[in-house]
C-alpha cells in the first residue's frame, strides 16, 4: 500500500469525523463507503476499520460523559443485550455474505440515513415519574441550567426490540449505530436528548467491540487501513467539535446529504455491477 493511499485513508477519516461531529453523526457512515467505492479498499477491511474506529471514538466520548454522570449505565446494559446479539449476527453476515450484497445493503442504509437527516424526528419530552418496572430511572446535573434532570425511560420493551436494529446495522456495516439508537431512546423511550446521546456513545463501543473481535478473528483487520483511519477520525472529531460552532452547520449538513446520496447510489450501483465511482 502506497504512502499516498495511507494519507488518503487518514484524510477520509478526518473528513468523515470532522463533518460528522458538526452534524451529530459518527464518521464511519461517510468513511467506510468512501474507502470502499472511492479509494478501492476492500469493503470488509473498511468495515473492520470502521468498527475499531467506533470503539476508539466511544472510549474517548464516553470518558467525558461518564465523568459528567450523563450515561444511564443500567439502561445501557438492558438495551445492550439485544444490541450485542444483533451485532454478532451482523458481523457474521459480513464474513459469510457476498461483498456485492453488502454494498447494496450499505447503500440502502446510507439513503435511509439521509432520509432521517432530512426528516429529523422530533424528540419528546422526558417523563419524570411513572411506572418503572425495570428500575431504569436516572438523573443528571443539567450543564446549561441549575438543577438536576430526573427521567424514567418509557416503552423499554419496544426500545430493546428496536435497538437490535442498531446492533444489526453496526455489526454489518462497521458504523456505530448511534444514528438509529439516539432517535429510538429520545423519541420512543423519552430519554432526554443529552442522556440519549451519552448512553448511545457508551453503548456503541460495546456493540462495535463484538463485531471488531469477530473481524479480528477472521483476519479482516488491515492495520494499513485501520490505523490511519483511527488517526484521521481522532483529529477530525477534535476539529469538528472546535470548528463546529463557527461554521454554518446547515451548509455542512446539506453537503453531507448530497455526498451520502451519491455514495449510497454508488454503493448500490457497484453492488449490482452497473456503476462505480472508481
Amino acid at each position: 500500500m502506497s504512502i499516498w493511499l495511507i494519507a488518503a485513508i487518514a484524510f477520509t477519516g478526518f473528513l468523515g469525523a470532522g463533518m460528522g461531529t458538526m452534524v451529530g453523526m459518527g464518521g464511519g457512515t461517510f468513511m467506510v463507503p468512501v474507502l470502499a467505492v472511492v479509494l478501492g479498499v476492500d469493503l470488509r477491511a473498511a468495515i473492520a476499520a470502521g468498527a475499531i474506529c467506533v470503539v476508539l471514538n466511544s472510549l474517548q466520548g464516553s470518558s467525558v460523559y461518564l465523568k459528567q454522570g450523563m450515561v444511564n449505565l443500567k439502561l445501557a446494559m438492558v438495551l445492550q443485550i439485544s444490541t450485542v446479539i444483533a451485532a454478532v449476527v451482523g458481523a457474521l453476515v459480513v464474513i459469510f455474505a457476498p461483498v456485492n450484497a453488502l454494498k447494496v445493503v450499505f447503500g440502502m442504509v446510507l439513503v435511509l440515513t439521509v432520509v432521517a437527516m432530512v426528516l429529523q424526528p422530533k424528540g419528546r419530552k422526558s417523563v419524570a415519574s411513572g411506572p418503572d418496572p425495570f428500575g431504569l430511572e436516572a438523573s443528571y446535573d443539567r450543564p446549561s441550567a441549575p438543577g438536576t434532570r430526573h427521567y424514567v425511560p418509557q416503552k423499554v420493551r419496544s426500545g430493546i426490540g428496536l435497538n437490535s436494529l442498531a446492533g444489526l446495522t453496526a455489526g454489518m456495516l462497521g458504523i456505530g449505530g448511534g444514528a438509529v439508537q439516539v432517535p429510538i431512546m429520545n423519541s420512543v423511550m423519552r430519554v432526554p436528548l443529552r442522556a440519549a446521546v451519552a448512553t448511545s456513545t457508551f453503548m456503541v463501543g460495546l456493540t462495535a467491540l463484538v463485531s471488531a473481535l469477530i473481524y479480528t478473528g477472521s483476519g479482516l483487520v488491515d492495520a494499513a487501513v485501520t490505523v490511519p483511519a483511527m488517526a484521521g477520525i481522532v483529529v477530525g472529531a477534535q476539529m469538528g467539535s472546535t470548528v463546529g460552532t463557527k461554521v454554518p452547520v446547515d451548509t455542512i449538513r446539506m453537503m453531507l446529504i448530497v455526498v451520502l446520496v451519491v455514495l449510497g447510489a454508488a454503493m448500490v450501483g457497484d453492488g449490482f455491477g452497473v456503476w462505480s465511482l472508481r
Binding site: L56, S58, L59, S62, E137, G219, V227
Partner: protein, 131 residues
C-alpha cells in the same frame, strides 16, 4: 420548580456508582490514549524503517516473540488489542463493582453482556467450521 427538575440523591441500584462510572471513565481515557499511541507509533516506525505497513495483525500466539524482537507492527497489533480491551475492562469493572455493592442487577446485566461478547468468537469459529 418544574416537576422533571428535582434534586435526587443517587443511592439506588441504578446509580452510576453501582456501575463504577468514575472508574470506567478513567479506564476508557487511559486505554484510548495508550492504545492509540502504540498503534500510531508502530505504523510510524514501520513507515520510517521500510516505507511499508504490514497489512494483517499478528496472531496472538506469535505476538509475544514479535514484541520481544522489537517488531514495530507487533506494537501496532498490541495497540489495537489494548483499544479492544477497553470496553471489556469496563464490563469487568462494572461486574465487580456490582458484587461489592450487592447491586445484583448490575452484576447480572454486565455479566450477560460480557458472556455474549466472549462467546462471539467461538460462535464464529463454530459456524465457519460447519460451513
Amino acid at each position: 420548580m418544574d416537576d422533571d427538575i428535582k434534586s435526587v440523591e443517587s443511592t439506588s441500584d441504578h446509580s452510576p456508582a453501582s456501575y463504577n462510572a468514575g472508574v470506567v471513565g478513567w479506564v476508557y481515557r487511559g486505554i484510548s490514549m495508550v492504545g492509540m499511541l502504540m498503534a500510531l507509533g508502530g505504523v510510524a516506525v514501520e513507515i520510517y524503517q521500510s516505507g511499508e505497513v504490514r497489512r494483517g495483525l499478528w496472531p496472538v500466539h506469535e505476538l509475544g516473540p514479535a514484541l520481544m524482537a522489537g517488531e514495530p507492527s507487533a506494537y501496532t497489533t498490541l495497540g489495537i488489542m489494548v483499544l479492544l480491551a477497553g470496553p471489556m475492562l469496563a464490563l469487568i469493572s462494572m461486574f465487580f463493582s456490582g458484587i461489592r455493592r450487592r447491586s445484583w442487577a448490575a452484576v447480572v446485566l454486565s455479566g450477560l453482556v460480557f458472556l455474549i461478547i466472549v462467546l462471539a468468537i467461538p460462535i464464529r469459529t463454530w459456524i465457519e467450521g460447519g460451513l
